[in-house]
């Protein structure tokens, strides 16, 4: 274990990315003076754990990639065993559409609810929604950071990170104190893909970080799913390109769960009045604005508002930017 911790600490000191021991004189000198037990104690005192590559608990899927990290720093109350559970990487654009946000949230909820671990990168947009969805379902989610384990990046997701740490794990290959840097995020993505048997892309532009995650997943022979997007939307250009190249289309949580050999999520039984049923049917057919629903159902604007709230509270529809969508 001490070897890997030495390696990780040397990488932090020299601001470099290391997978194996370098044959440099500088590293030899560093190794000779590095006090691994003391460093480990300091980590423990700050509430972090270190899981070395050589440790038996190290996730086998991640060990199997061609450049596995020397070890993982861990934060949160989740057991190390979580890293070995069947997991799905749920990734996508940071600047996503409201549709992308809703789909990410819903898939995160349904996949975590069915027992999969949802792995993502704590970024804005799709990543954050995937984590939130998993938490909503009371499931387990793991966030992989592209900076030191002690940092919450982006800062706006600090409270989300705290929530994830309650039941799940936050992991990083970087020791405390390392600043986020653009080149570290692709490296982070290989861990996201590496931890999971499959990767699911919700929305991605061309040349987006989410596509890097998919490339890495494909290189390691893992399955890649993509949510089909509108062909006119630049936000879906990347994910649609993946589909053209042969990724499996994901039209619902069931598609992913099947490949894991899991059953479909339990449908929720609802008791709805005739008006609410009519609205739900119309919304399930296609997302609609409130005004369109008024005309489609013949309800008054006031009555419709009440019905939509009822459906929203039941968790079967969501309203965003004036559009009512089946949730």
């Amino acid at each position: 274990m001490s070897v890997e911790l030495t390696l990780a600490s040397f990488a932090a000191l020299t601001d470099s990315h290391l997978v194996d021991e370098p044959r440099s004189a500088r590293f030899a000198r560093f190794k000779a003076t590095f006090d691994a037990p003391a460093a480990l104690e300091r980590l423990g005192a700050s509430g972090y754990r270190f899981l070395a590559r050589s440790d038996e608990a190290f996730p086998p899927l991640l060990r199997a990639i061609h450049d596995p990290p020397p070890g993982l720093f861990l934060r949160g109350h989740g057991n190390v065993e979580l890293l070995r559970r069947p997991a799905i990487a749920l990734v996508g654009a940071r600047a996503c559409s409201s549709y992308g946000r809703q789909v990410a949230r819903r898939l995160g909820r349904e996949l975590a609810g069915a027992g999969l671990v949802v792995v993502s990168g704590l970024a804005r947009g799709v990543d954050g929604e995937a984590h939130r969805g998993a938490l909503e379902a009371g499931g387990v989610t793991i966030a992989v950071l592209g900076c030191g384990i002690d940092r919450d990046y982006p800062a706006a997701h600090r409270s989300l990170a705290a929530e994830i740490a309650e039941s799940g794990l936050i992991v990083s290959e970087y020791s405390p104190g390392i600043e986020p840097a653009p080149w570290r995020f692709p490296a982070r993505n290989r861990i996201v893909a590496g931890l999971c048997a499959a990767t699911l892309v919700v929305e991605a532009r061309e040349r987006s970080g989410a596509l890097i995650t998919c490339d890495l997943a494909l290189e390691e022979g893992r399955e890649v799913f993509a949510v089909p997007g509108e062909i006119t939307s630049a936000l879906s250009a990347g994910s649609n390109a993946l589909l053209r190249l042969g990724a499996t289309p994901c039209t619902g949580a069931t598609d992913v769960l099947e490949s894991f050999g899991l059953g479909p999520p339990e449908p929720v039984a609802l008791e709805l009045g005739p008006a609410a049923t009519a609205v739900l049917e119309r919304v399930r057919a296609a997302a609609a604005t409130m005004d369109e629903l008024v005309r489609a159902t013949g309800l008054s604007a006031g009555e419709l508002a009440a019905v939509v709230t009822e459906l929203e509270l039941a968790g079967v529809v969501e309203v965003e930017e004036g559009l009512v969508r089946a949730g």
Partner: protein, 464 residues
């Protein structure tokens, strides 16, 4: 007013400002032009009492001129004492209307005067205060009247009928949800925020709120008229403001222009919208300090302004209607466009509107882009029937506001747990639900009213 022998001179004392001190020259020229006699060999001192209060403006000209004439025995002093006077003098002796004639007339009545001399343009305005206005066009006319040689024609009472109608709701096609929110806002006096992509008719909707509000009660009308009189906004043909005022300041307006201010504080747009509607178009484009300054009037209906020269407390109990895009590039919420805002830019945009300000909107409605078939639809309901419903709902709310049933309270509590809803948000929903019940003519606030009110809470995409 004092005339004495000595070196001829003319002094005005009593904290007069520049415009007020220049009255010397106007009064002198005016008296000479009216072929009256200027007391050449006298030293004249005019004291504007109380001496400690600042005086500003040209409205004292007529009083000063008449005082000089009375002191030099050219008009009977006892007749003078029965009249108040307000107006600015032109160099040729003509009398010009001034701002605040209504307030002056009210002041005159409060000290027991029953007649006021003023320019014909101000006469109708002054009569609203319950005094008899003597319209005089020229200083000579005022003197003849005081000498009892002339009786000026009384002013025609203004004709109410030709008042222009505010824009009508019939012009709005589709937009059922926003129309409903407008009706709720009118009935409950709620603040309304309309958010959505450009070109969806947010401003058009906002401008139609005054048309569905009830006319002002007589006491309210006088209150509003006083403010508009001080600001010089009254038109001679329609001196009494009987409809709720509507003000829509541009977003480049300064804080002082909106909440009031200046060295001798003047009422701002917020006070001019007292008992009416203040429309802030493109809310996030306003300067942040301006928006924050509106929080006080939104809370307690008044604006207190302190300046070195003095303090002022202006009434500012208005209904706020605001419009905004959902993001800086305005692409959000528009199916035909795509938002190209970076997360940082979006965050900065939302930060501009403090949560404290957003919390003061009881109703938040996202206005989607209407599709073509809506625009092709026939005209919708006009303002008149909507206003009738609003008046009825207001009467019900005043007589006996409906009370929440147990089931409705339970739904509200469940919603607070399930949705991100603050304590203030809960109170807003409760208020709107009460209005919805009153509009429906219901005895109590039922679950469906609470459910409807919940649909107008701040959506999460606005960051609250």
């Amino acid at each position: 007013m004092h005339l004495e022998r000595g070196i001829p001179g003319f002094a005005i004392v009593g904290l007069a400002d520049r415009a007020c001190s220049e009255a010397k020259h106007r009064v002198r020229s005016g008296i000479m032009s009216a072929l009256l006699e200027w007391p050449l060999d006298r030293r004249i001192t005019v004291n504007l009492a109380p001496a400690g209060l600042r005086k500003e403006g040209s409205s004292f000209d007529l009083s000063i001129a008449l005082a000089v004439l009375a002191a030099s025995l050219q008009v009977p002093a006892e007749r003078m004492a029965e009249h108040a006077a307000v107006g600015e003098l032109a160099l040729d002796g003509r009398i010009r209307p001034v701002r605040g004639a209504f307030a002056v007339a009210e002041g005159a009545r409060s000290i027991g005067l029953e007649r006021i001399l003023c320019a014909p343009e101000s006469a109708a305005e002054a009569e609203l205060a319950g005094v008899e206005a003597i319209p005089v066009r020229h200083l000579g006319e005022a003197v003849s009247y005081l000498r009892g040689e002339l009786r000026p024609e009384p002013v025609e009472p203004p004709d109410e009928a030709d008042e222009p109608e505010p824009p009508d709701l019939a012009d709005v096609r589709g937009q059922e949800r926003a129309r409903r929110a407008l009706e709720l806002a009118a009935a409950g006096g709620h603040n309304l925020l309309l958010a959505g992509p450009p070109g969806t008719g947010k401003t058009m909707l906002g401008r139609r709120l005054p048309g569905i509000l009830p006319r002002l009660a007589p006491a309210e009308a006088l209150e509003v008229t006083r403010i508009h009189s001080v600001a010089g906004l009254l038109v001679p043909e329609r001196p009494l403001v009987s409809r709720p005022p509507f003000r829509a300041p541009h977003h480049s307006s300064s804080t002082a222009a909106i909440v009031g201010g200046g060295p001798g504080p003047r009422p701002g747009e917020a006070s001019l919208a007292h008992r009416g509607v203040l429309l802030l178009d493109e809310l996030p484009e306003f300067q942040r300090p301006t928006l924050e300054a509106l929080r006080q009037p939104l809370e307690d209906g008044t604006i207190a302004i302190a300046r070195a020269a003095g303090q002022a407390l202006f009434p500012a109990s208005f209904q706020l209607v605001a419009t905004m895009n959902m993001c800086p590039c305005a692409g959000r919420g528009d199916p035909a466009a795509e938002c190209s805002c970076s997360p940082q830019r979006l965050a900065a945009f939302r930060d501009k509107l403090s949560r404290a300000l957003l919390d003061r909107f009881d109703l938040v409605v996202t206005v989607p882009r209407p599709r073509a078939d809506e625009l092709a639809a026939g005209p919708s309901e006009a303002s008149q029937p909507v206003r009738a419903r609003v008046v009825e709902a207001r009467n019900r709310l005043r007589a006996q506001p409906p009370v929440r049933t147990e089931a409705a309270s339970e739904l509200l509590s469940r919603a607070v747990e399930r949705l991100p809803l603050s304590a203030r948000g809960r109170a807003k929903v409760a208020r709107v639900a009460c209005t919805a019940a009153a509009l429906a003519g219901a005895q109590a606030v039922e679950t469906e009213h609470v459910a409807e009110a919940l649909a107008y809470r701040s959506p999460k995409e606005l960051g609250t």
